[in-house]
């Protein structure tokens, strides 16, 4: 089975376990570092390409489990920018796998729309071969209006490159006068990351026993429940997923408290900053008083600037994707 979307019958024991888990909080977004395909291949004495293929099958299976239990968003680390360092043979093999799978995805349009699945490919897409850029842009365009489930595929991605790209967009925004240096906050940073349309992952799962984040969603997972699992990715089972959810439930309160505390800190800090900036803007000294109304006015203006800036960033992204979509048609025109 090599399709993305599965619709298999659920066993009664799975249904029972799900019902039990659903008495507690269920994560809305789970991220996976699908590590171990190559070690699995060598363990089974099959070639690496086969290992990656089985890894893809496991992904499709995992998506079905997530869908059944109510996890509506899944993010996976499919290809890191660091992976370009691998042998040409392996990189080409992985690109070929991507080509195959994304093309297959386009054929499953009805199934995707039936389940309301939105596909997003996150990363520095300019690093990919042109034809993959086009397929990926098409896949995103085709599913962009679906809203029941989201699958984010991190491809040509590293967290540092993502954070740096957000910093660059922000610096450009300040340079163009769209936003002020004082407008920059955690919230603005988050809205400039590739993951800006998604909530932060509730759980980060990494298979194969490695206990590192390997440059994956570093900003977004700072308050996520971490589940390091010892099995290789193609051996990941629904029981490991259930165990991850139980872990999430066990840690739920303490993590929510930390997130809430951080949120309050951010709001207070923003309020303080607005008061100070308002004072500076109205040329008032520390002793002179400013009214709540004046501060509110300033906040509104700040939010307006940020909205315009984010619109500009979004437009840049759309233009890039359109460029990818148009790219492959040119050679066809020239040959005739």
């Amino acid at each position: 089975m090599t399709t993305w979307i599965r619709e298999s019958e659920q066993s009664w024991i799975h249904k029972f376990c799900q019902a039990v888990l659903k008495t507690g909080p269920i994560p809305k977004h789970v991220a996976f570092i699908m590590d171990g395909n190559r070690r699995f291949a060598s363990k089974r004495s099959i070639d690496r390409a086969q290992g990656h293929l089985m890894g893809f099958d496991k992904l499709a299976e995992t998506l079905e489990w997530c869908n059944n239990i109510g996890i509506s968003e899944v993010t996976v680390y499919a290809f890191s920018i660091e992976n370009f360092k691998r042998s040409k043979e392996e990189v080409d093999g992985l690109m070929e796998l991507a080509r195959l799978k994304f093309t297959k995805l386009m054929e499953e349009k009805e199934l995707l729309n039936k389940h309301g699945v939105c596909i997003r490919v996150l990363g520095n897409l300019s690093l990919l071969p042109h034809d993959i850029q086009q397929i990926v842009a098409d896949a995103m365009n085709m599913t962009k209006n679906n809203n029941r489930a989201v699958l984010n595929v991190c491809f040509a991605y590293t967290a540092r490159e993502e954070i740096c790209s957000a910093m660059r967009d922000i610096a450009e925004g300040v340079d163009l006068g769209l936003i002020r240096e004082s407008d920059i906050s955690e919230s603005v940073m988050e809205k400039c990351l590739y993951t800006r349309k998604s909530p932060h992952p509730d759980i980060l799962v990494r298979t194969s026993g490695e206990v590192r984040l390997s440059d994956f969603l570093l900003w977004q997972t700072t308050y996520s429940c971490l589940s390091f699992v010892r099995v290789l990715w193609p051996e990941f089972s629904i029981w490991h997923l259930y165990a991850g959810i139980l872990q999430y439930q066990r840690n739920y309160q303490v993590i929510q408290n930390a997130i809430q505390d951080n949120k309050v800190k951010r709001e207070m800090s923003q309020r303080q900053s607005d008061v100070e900036c308002c004072r500076v803007e109205l040329l008032k000294t520390e002793e002179e008083s400013i009214t709540q109304h004046q501060v509110n006015e300033y906040s509104m203006q700040r939010e307006k600037r940020i909205k315009t800036f984010l619109g500009h960033v979004e437009q840049k992204r759309e233009q890039l994707l359109s460029k990818f979509e148009e790219r492959v048609t040119y050679p066809l025109l020239q040959s005739s």
Binding site: E82, T158, D175, E181
Partner: protein, 235 residues
């Protein structure tokens, strides 16, 4: 019977004179470790903080040859009680000097961007410690984004200069500490609670239930486990 009683009395009286629980730091221990972290991070998730145990960890790191140590608690309680920690570290340094006639230097800095951080080469008898909290995580990256934006606005940097290489170098220069190779998380919660998101790109994470009453034996065995792991770096 008398001999036994005398022995237990001696043991009871000798307790305050024994600074390290159980086995003491031996100089051959660092040679027994295949790989030593250059920068060790410690995340304390427990509410009840023991400065004696944190001081122990710092001293053990220093005698094993670990040059950089980070100590983190989300709310910054340790940062606020830097003086108390400094006192405990001082006590242990004195005990160590009495025992081994070696003098060590431990510099304790408050926060990731503490401007008093020493910039010269590290020496074998000195370790640098930075006390961190949540503000050194996402908020510090926001701070850097502001500084970089200012540089671009003031034409010191071009927008194209905001490259990964330049941002990495900028952050390393500002914090003066390399990225942590190993982080030990103490406490039950399975979450990093805001710890240095940028710097933990390739960090290995080990866990231990509690920092309170941590024995040297347990600490050493964690480092031995670290020495036995191997990274592939994406290849």
């Amino acid at each position: 019977m008398n001999v036994l009683w005398i022995c237990s009395w001696i043991k009871h009286v000798a307790k305050p004179w024994a600074p390290f629980k159980g086995r003491d730091v031996q100089s051959y221990d660092s040679k027994s470790l295949k790989r030593l972290p250059i920068h060790l991070g410690v995340i304390i998730l427990e509410d009840n903080i023991s400065y004696i145990d944190i001081a122990n960890i710092i001293i053990w790191c220093m005698t094993l040859g670990i040059s950089y140590i980070s100590v983190y608690d989300r709310k910054g309680v340790i940062r606020q009680n830097q003086k108390h920690l400094a006192e405990e570290i001082h006590k242990r340094k004195e005990e160590l000097y009495k025992k081994r006639r070696e003098s060590f230097n431990i510099n304790v800095y408050n926060g990731l961007y503490d401007s008093s951080k020493y910039t010269g080469p590290s020496s074998s008898n000195s370790s640098d410690v930075q006390l961190l909290s949540e503000e050194d995580g996402q908020l510090s990256l926001v701070q850097v984004a502001k500084e970089i934006s200012k540089s671009v606005k003031e034409k010191r940097w071009k927008v194209e200069d905001v490259s990964l290489q330049n941002v990495e170098n900028y952050l390393l220069e500002k914090s003066r500490f390399p990225d942590p190779d190993l982080v030990i998380k103490f406490g039950a919660a399975e979450c990093l609670m805001g710890f240095l998101p940028w710097q933990i790109r390739l960090t290995e994470f080990f866990v231990s239930p509690s920092h309170r009453g941590l024995s040297y034996k347990t600490f050493l065995s964690l480092l031995q486990d670290y020495g036995n792991t191997r990274q592939r770096f994406g290849k």
